[in-house]
């Protein structure tokens, strides 16, 4: 890993934990073991470093579900099951970064940055939308509000990951419980979301 990537990794860690404005370029440089000037040398500015961070990680999230849409052997509800599990897996394993995206998304500054973040998030949402629509067209699903149904799937998973503190309180757990590294919770969330979708989407 070269110094450019080291800086990006440190930036991801610090931006995720302390926010964009709450992190100084000197902190990032120190964490990466690099000179402050290197940040401007490689990225031009702190703001452009942020954009690089987003792009850098975005490539990992890229097109996770697109091939699923073209699969003809699975039913729509089976596809949705896979989407639910993968979304949970992804959000749990990288909850810090997802917080970073959503935090900056809710801010009034840097509108261009909001635009690119929402584009990244949409890449994983569009295939889900298509799959639900297809399920309805094929008569497998009830005629539901497609956009809000996918909002429910993502929103349920997302809200549970709001913060470790919040998650503990919702679940009524004691202080020691670490929500984000809990395997049982992922399983529980997966079952809940799948059952919910089956009862709502599948015809009785």
């Amino acid at each position: 890993m070269n110094k450019r990537e080291t800086i990006i990794e440190s930036a991801i860690k610090l931006f995720s934990n302390k926010g964009f404005e709450g992190t100084s370029v000197r902190e990032i440089a120190a964490d990466a073991g690099a000179n402050v000037a290197l940040i401007n040398y490689y990225f031009g500015s702190k703001e452009k470093l942020f954009e690089s961070v987003v792009e850098y990680r975005a490539s990992v999230l890229k097109g996770l579900f697109s091939e699923l849409f073209n699969n003809k052997e699975l039913t729509a509800i089976e596809k949705l099951d896979i989407i639910i599990d993968k979304t949970i897996e992804r959000k749990f394993s990288d909850s810090q970064f997802h917080h970073l995206l959503h935090r900056e998304l809710s801010l009034g500054n840097r509108p261009q940055c909001r635009e690119s973040i929402s584009d990244i998030l949409m890449r994983n949402i569009i295939p889900v939308k298509k799959i639900i629509k297809e399920g309805i067209k094929d008569g497998e699903f009830n005629k539901v509000d497609v956009e809000l149904t996918l909002t429910t799937i993502i929103g349920t998973i997302h809200y549970l990951l709001t913060s470790d503190t919040m998650c503990r309180k919702i679940l009524g757990k004691k202080e020691g419980f670490s929500a984000f590294q809990n395997k049982h919770l992922k399983q529980r969330l997966s079952e809940h979301t799948k059952k919910l979708m089956r009862s709502y989407l599948l015809k009785k």
Copy 2:
């Protein structure tokens, strides 16, 4: 409205829009038409101003659903309908402030602040939990995962309000569409959430 309150109001506006770290005390003072030193005179520090902001607004959100729990004339699903509508109404009318709370909640700094914010949010969640539990005990509801069901309700509403940009993209709307002031969207969200909960909770 005295100067102390004027400062709090300006702080709410600016913190909501630009985040805690992204807002300077001088901006707040300027917006409130007050001298910078007044912030430290009244609140002691920027951080304590933030706590005052949270407390100030928390009183408004206080105990919105507690009396609903004790109501014996409504069925559990009817109570839930009311909760859904009130939650939508509240979040839509004050989406900026809710973003502020959730943004700071997801940050690693100021753990004591996270604690008080999650306490505030829980005040509105606990009665919902009770109502769903009661519905199950009375045999009106299926035996669902209570904590995750309420997460679904709040998460659905919350996620749609992530950002105006994001909301537009999810719904497939053009640039002009302003999600947060749209009456039709509130109605649509209300119907979706109620239907979802009826199909999931009520016995067939």
